[in-house]
Symmetry: C2
Subunit: 446 residues, 2 copies
């Protein structure tokens, strides 16, 4: 009986667990789930005799090695920082590994050894990174097979809220780690446009958006992700002059977020001396130059940010309550942590809210002397705050890849991302059966 | 015969070496100077029989321990990153230590052990940090002794170029590590103003300047230094509502530097894929949004930075040659390193140039119902590019402190900064004899 070990059972793992339990039942496998707290898994596990859960601290190296030694495949949904430890333990115990996180240089350094042992360490197998790679690679191959010459590749993904649950002026609710959302983009971004490098520092990132349109959903803004250049080689795009990967937000979000970045509220590099008695208003005031308090904070804030006081940006900032005299009530925190604390309340996905994933690839290409654009768009909605679109679009591809690996259908070994047809073809085909699919439009460019 | 060990003989150590050789001659001491290259020290050492130089890599732990073991006092002028290693070796060998660098938390962690062993680890004993602490503490004590109640303490220091050698529109030349100048301020700044915390993120720092005037020299701008809050306790300023330490530049510098920061040119967080064939113009273009090249770079740059094309800021940027089609000729470098490479050429202190140190403290206080400001200003000029004002104002206080320590006149032990009268009184008195002194003005505030 093959053993699957799932490390981490936090937010957005619901779909993955359901999928793995079903696969286990069909294939006579067993799933062991491990996390620091597993009580919430009881309802799911009670309906299956193929799964069990254990409490466990991944810092306990001895237990970690022992558990991994008993598995045929390890899936890690732990925070990204843990993956190097887990991957090293997988090397020691000679076990396969799947994660939905980035193949960082530290992980890539294990490639030769994993390859030598015939182990598959499949990284970036979730949504973004994950489905984005798989769907882009499938389309790039199709385009090349029909003789098209790629001129530009742009790809954007957003974890958003569905229109029917969109009840705030930011048009955004958290469906993913709030801390990651608050710190998003802090490394700046690098991409390629018409053959030239483009570098955007963090403090300009949310000002440098591109406009995108999704049929039936309206307009979005996309901002560039960290390092698009690093995907040129794996995608085989060395001869393509424009390569950009980015994140989608509803119109208005980036402009107001840019104002918060300008102010300094996303700074995570220092801790406030003491924010216990500090109010949100005093916190906001701390980022403005000193001024006799005769002029209202709201006006000084707008002027400092070079915004009209009645602008959309100021309306969104005001809605957050940053000018209110409510105590923050936190000790020893950074500005970014205070902002996260506030947003977690303001941007909460309510139990019956539906989230929404939007992914859009834009392929510009030349064929028979014509320049055309192929737009491939995926929209997935969640059922509620547990079975989210995020949980589905991360969980299904990881689960399907796990099944393929245990069935011996993935031959590639080493530290890899899902850019090979033997992986992306069956994953994309099965995703389609769960309604996770792309619609395509082609248009001629002037 | 007492032994002084000086680690590091780089830029701006000329005065210190001359001073230590003189002290050694007067007191029958011996000075050993150690660095990776010491050839340039021969002319200085030939005139003295109290000093010798050796080549040595501080990474060689065995040799490091041995050398420190033979000394009575260690002075480290190595780059700041080395000081923890040196301090630990001094603990092992039970030797006193003096540096001109910050007493970082890592160094402060050695305080209890140094104290237990009766060792003095005197940090921040140069110019800034150094003379700023000593002169401020002396004046704060005088003010309190005459019954004044301090309302505000502001202190600014700048390493600048003397008016007679000021030949460029930035009014700046390098007299200190260029890399540190390019990266200055990247941690943002925190200070206290009228009882309220003030936080400035890096990308706003050079916009948030204060105007200062120095009699006979004209106007300067000051921008806030990293963490002024941390000096409230050592200075005994817990009850003073305004505490700010900052850096001085000539009028115009900060505004143009702010534009470079906005653009992203000071980013040190990533390396360019390859800058060998890239020109400065292409480098600058990489930070701008893509645009059909019909509009000149200069105009797009100004618009992106929200500056008039004929502004002073654009004139200063243009003078740097950032729009020129000259190849950079560097491989594997960050934007900040490219900027440093360019500036090292543009802001070079020529052999006969004189640099200039300006320090200004502003003490606002209340006495007999009147609110007054005491302005204490120090101006020191260099002789040439070797005997710089920077070398004098760093070297003399370190050298005098070394003499006092070897003469048994410093009783404080542990990791400390020069805030005690037993240190700052004799150091300030001797500095005066070398022309390093403050002029004071007092005025009533409205």
């Amino acid at each position: 009986m093959k053993q699957i070990l799932l490390l981490g059972a936090g937010r957005s793992v619901s779909t993955l667990i359901q999928y793995l339990l079903r696969s286990a039942a069909e294939n006579n496998w067993h799933l062991t789930i491990i996390d620091v707290s597993v009580d919430h898994l009881q309802p799911v596990l009670e309906g299956s005799d193929c799964g069990s859960a254990q409490v466990f601290d991944v810092h306990d190296r001895q237990q970690c090695l022992q558990q991994i030694g008993q598995a045929d495949l390890v899936i890690s949904m732990l925070p990204a920082a843990f993956h190097v430890i887990v991957a090293q333990a997988c090397l020691e115990q000679r076990r396969h590994l799947i994660t939905a996180s980035y193949a960082t240089p530290e992980l890539q350094a294990l490639d030769a050894e994993a390859r030598r042992m015939g182990l598959t360490f499949l990284m970036e197998a979730g949504l973004d990174p994950g489905i984005d790679h798989m769907s882009a690679m499938a389309t790039i191959r199709q385009l090349r097979e029909r003789g098209a010459r790629l001129l530009a590749f742009r790809s954007y993904t957003g974890g958003l809220v569905a229109p029917e649950s969109d009840t705030n002026p930011w048009h955004y609710k958290f469906t993913w780690n709030p801390r990651n959302v608050v710190l998003a983009g802090q490394g700046g971004a690098r991409y390629l446009e018409k053959g030239a490098y483009k570098f955007i520092p963090y403090h300009q990132l949310f000002r440098r958006t591109e406009s995108l349109h999704v049929e039936g959903l309206g307009d979005f803004d996309g901002y560039a992700n960290r390092d698009s250049l690093s995907y040129r080689e794996p995608y085989g795009l060395q001869d393509v002059p424009t390569v950009l990967r980015g994140t989608l937000r509803r119109r208005g979000f980036c402009q107001a977020w840019h104002a918060l970045v300008q102010l300094g509220l996303t700074d995570d590099s220092f801790q406030l001396p003491d924010a216990t008695r500090l109010t949100y208003r005093q916190f906001t005031e701390a980022f403005l130059p000193y001024h006799e308090p005769s002029e209202p904070l709201e006006h000084r804030l707008a002027r400092y940010l070079h915004l009209p006081p009645d602008s959309d940006e100021m309306r969104l900032i005001s809605w957050l309550g940053l000018e209110e005299d409510t105590p923050i009530g936190l000790k020893q925190v950074s500005p970014a942590q205070i902002l996260e604390h506030l947003l977690t309340r303001k941007w909460r996905l309510e139990p019956n809210d539906k989230d929404m994933i939007v992914m859009q690839h834009l392929f510009d290409f030349e064929q028979h002397g014509q320049v055309k654009r192929l737009k491939a768009t995926m929209v997935v909605k969640g059922d509620d705050a547990v079975n989210t679109a995020m949980a589905k679009t991360v969980g299904f591809p990881v689960g399907i890849a796990a099944k393929l690996l245990l069935q011996g259908k993935i031959k590639h070994s080493g530290v890899l991302i899902p850019i090979y047809p033997e992986i992306y073809e069956p994953v994309l085909a099965e995703l389609k059966s769960y309604g996770i699919d792309f619609s395509e439009e082609e248009e001629e460019l002037p």
